[in-house]
Amino acid sequence: MSTRRLLLYAVLLLTAGCGRDGLPPSFVIPGPAGPSPVPTAAPFVWDTRDELAVWASNNVTSGAIVLDGEGSDAVLRVERTDQKWVLRGPDLSPMPTGVRGVRVRCRFLPDPSLPPTASRSILVSVTFDTPTTSPGYANGQTSIWVNLQATTEFTDAPFASRQLTPPIDVRYAYLHGTSSNRGMLEIDRIEFVR
């Protein structure tokens, strides 16, 4: 190696900071396949027993889940909110675009045996799987979390007040909860807001 070339290397060393920009991209190993979609009366609205049944029984849904009632009065019931539970929706085809949020009509019924000082709310999330990972969200999936208060009547959970910006395309969605508060969650209707 010539002295001149060595000198050039020394100059390069002195004039440049170095380091690779960016991390190697993450990738996702898909989970179990979801259920096939069933035709719904309104697009991306699950209200009747047949429509909600897709969420109740598939390879991912787990926990103490019961589908109860008939027709549009049917509800998905999570009988133990203090245990892990997941409700996985169908793989959506065609994929809904421009989804701005979700509306979930539900009620949380705390266990009557809870002491008066016990918390009467649970944390519930709706998570959307999108064609590309969502930066800024845990594990790259867009999630909306709400704190559901105990109610005797069905109401729209405050998911609807959390608008997704920008709107997203959704491959599938799932609901799950993290709570140690014992009780029952009944879901009457799930609707994507566009």
Binding site: G19, P24, S26, G31, R88, Y174
Partner: protein
């Protein structure tokens, strides 16, 4: 240290006087070695004492001017190691009776580097899918914004090995660092 200061240092080295009786120096073109240093660091936030060590490469630009490229690891971190690198010019200011340089003036520039090595991480999602974050290793270095100046004594201990003792000051990155080093250098070619 600016490049102007470096240029000045080179010029100073080139015009540095030497005893008329000294014989023509015959230092090897390349030397490889290692160095261990103690650093006393003073910053606005306080002070610290560090130990470091690492490899050195010395290149003889001219019979009198030499460049040392030095990397010193300052200690392990949870995911790798931090260190200090520098390139310095070394020129003789005093000679031994044998004609070989004995005392050197050094000046240069350096910066900090970090080495990371992070293993692959897998995060399961609630829906059963798994996010895989590939492992990676990375060497990051800051620009050489630290100036170094000092003196060094080189003692030939055998035909192919020499001992270098050095002391100096490093300034930059919000710190003033006093340094004392001891190192060895090996050359394929004999020193004379």
């Amino acid at each position: 240290m600016t490049r102007h200061a470096l240029a000045l240092t080179v010029v100073a080295g080139l015009i540095a006087g030497r005893p008329a009786a000294a014989q023509e120096v015959s230092m090897p073109r390349f030397e490889l070695g290692g160095v261990a240093s103690g650093f006393a660091v003073a910053t606005f936030d306080g002070g610290a004492a560090l130990l470091g060590g690492g490899p050195t490469l010395t290149i003889g630009l001219t019979p009198r001017i030499r460049i040392d490229v030095i990397g010193q690891f300052l200690g392990p971190t949870e995911i790798g190691a931090d260190g200090f690198y520098e390139a310095q010019i070394r020129f003789p200011v005093r000679y031994a009776a044998s004609g070989l340089p004995k005392l050197w003036m050094t000046a240069g520039a350096g910066g900090l580097f970090s080495f990371y090595s992070i293993g692959e991480r897998r995060t399961p999602r609630v829906d059963g899918s798994i996010v895989v974050y590939p492992g990676y290793s990375e060497l990051r270095a800051t620009r050489p914004r630290m100036a170094t100046v000092g003196i060094a004594h080189q003692q030939i201990v055998s035909g192919h090995a020499s001992l270098i003792l050095a002391t100096g000051v490093v300034v930059g990155e919000g710190a003033i660092i006093a340094r004392a080093s001891a190192g060895v250098s090996f050359s394929k070619r004999r020193y004379r």
